[in-house]
Amino acid sequence: MAGNELSNLALAIDIEGEQGFRLQLDCELPDTGITAIYGPSGSGKSTLLDCVAGLRRPQPGSRIHFRDESWQAGGQYLPPWERRVGYVFQDGRLFPHLDVRGNLAYALKRAGQAGPSLDTVVELLDLRELLPRATQALSAGQKQRVAIARALLSAPQLLLLDEPLANLDHAAIGELIPCLRRLASELALPMLYVSHDIEEVSQLADHLLLLEHGRATAQGPLLELCSRLDTRLSHEEQAAAIVLATVRQHDPDFGLTELDLEGYTLFVNQLPDSAGRQRRVRIPARDISVCRERPGQSSILNILPVKIAEIEESGAARIMLRLSLGSQHLLARITRKSATELGLSVGDAVFAQIKSAALLMEMAESS
């Protein structure tokens, strides 16, 4: 366990679940921004949230500290109704005997101390017109918005979200993601966000905790962790690096936007953003190829000079390259045959060709 200062979220959890499953971890997480807990289903993500909320009680030796509060330590255990957490469940869990307003009032009435006002939350989540509705009459996306609002109104110091977007359609997800980012920054509310969808995580999270088989395998800032070769992320089929780029200008004739990435130019499909805004761009490793010489004439627009920082085998036929570009990194997955034929080794300067299609996965603005 690193450090003794209790200025963040310190977790030392040991809990046994069904069928021999055991969640065992010891880590410190930031108490600001959005921390994603990412892993395959069955890795213990929801169990971890339940322990933080106090809905499940880990072994007596477990410790949960949040800022200067101790939620569990030794034999002492704070029940969920005394912890200042908000919990947004995958299935919403709105009270069926209350309408939307009633659900929100339920939280407001029991908020231990002053939190965001009803008006603020209703405004942030655009709920004005839903207030008199029965919960049964809401769409899946509306239900989750109400569930988020209800959790916020209980004036939490930490918001837990368990795959809140899992049952939603594409449009609803597109609305909620920027909304969650706005909440995190405007309300200065730290969030633990459980997900098994790396794209969702890439758009939302600032920090990432990887869980596998009940163990924490890695954690760190999202951008850094995504471009590392020693985590399971780089071995996933959809492995991708995330970079920060600044909008330079739009080229409406070709329907493209020009981004500045470490002083180089990156073209992506046209964005609505005005110039100067910083964006996250997710570039899948399989969409990058490398060549020794800058290709003279190519249909590929984005060709960046990079340096090979690391090389790692990824299965029998393929290898993964970590490429540095200024202070940022890209990942490229190429065949082992090509790597051998090109004689690639660490430190080599090469050119990365990025298919522009890869940049369709344009991400929400970064905080």
Binding site: L55, V85, G86, Y87, F95, P96, H97, Y106, S154
Partner: protein, 228 residues
């Protein structure tokens, strides 16, 4: 033909007995039903079986054992004697005790099945919103089970009005003290006063029908539903 004093007493006594019994049944049955709805295992199964016994036992069996239990020479009988100065057996209080036991399943079972339908997830949500277990019960369970409470209370009341065997065994037939409607009716039939018997019998039929009709017309179940 106006009601005789004995008949009026019997009606009053029956309503008082059923009313007091219903209140006690709700006070005892609610926590019991909650406990049964959240537990699995040998002890809960045993308790559930005991609660359900009056459904299948002849009332006379229950009445017989209660009579032995409440007799003046038992510990309970003597305790009561010391406490109140009067005998427990063949008293109104004995009727209340017998009725509570006899009608318990009619209150516990609808409540238990209603409580079992409350998703645990809603209570967890309430807990994270700051609701302690008592508050969760008051603010989520009770309003969601309102109709089941109404059904439980109605069935408990009606079943107490309708009991005969237990009352006869432990209450005897003391006008103004333990002579309830069903016993008064039995008396009238015994002494071949059929015209009066008809009046009481028909009255009970109408009352029971009206109560059940009101109950079933409102729908037996609680009207909430969870959608996801």
């Amino acid at each position: 033909m106006p009601l005789s004093t004995a008949e009026q007493d019997a009606i009053y006594l029956t309503i008082a007995l059923a009313g007091i019994t219903t209140v006690l049944l709700l006070l005892i049955g609610t926590p019991l039903a909650w406990w049964l709805s959240r537990r699995r295992g040998t002890l809960p199964a045993l308790v559930e079986s005991l609660v359900a016994m009056p459904l299948i036992l002849p009332p006379t069996v229950l009445g017989f054992y209660l009579l032995l239990l409440l007799a003046p020479d038992t510990a309970l009988g003597q305790f009561w004697q010391a406490l109140t100065g009067s005998q427990l057996a063949f008293s109104f209080s004995a009727l209340v005790i017998g009725s509570v036991i006899y009608s318990l399943p009619f209150v516990v079972q609808p409540l238990q099945s209603a409580f079992q339908r409350i998703p645990q997830g809603l209570l967890q949500a309430a807990a994270t919103l700051g609701a302690s277990p008592a508050v969760q019960f008051r603010s989520v369970v009770v309003p969601m089970c309102r109709r089941s409470f109404l059904a439980a209370a109605s069935l408990g009341f009606a079943h107490t009005v309708g009991e005969f065997g237990v009352v006869l065994m432990i209450g005897g037939n003391i006008p103004g003290e333990t002579q309830v409607l069903s016993i008064a009716l039995y008396d009238q039939v015994e002494s071949l006063r059929f015209a009066e018997a008809h009046r009481l019998a028909a009255g009970l039929v109408m009352f029971s029908l009206a109560l059940l009709f009101l109950l079933y017309r409102r729908g037996g179940r609680d009207s909430w539903r969870v959608t996801s």
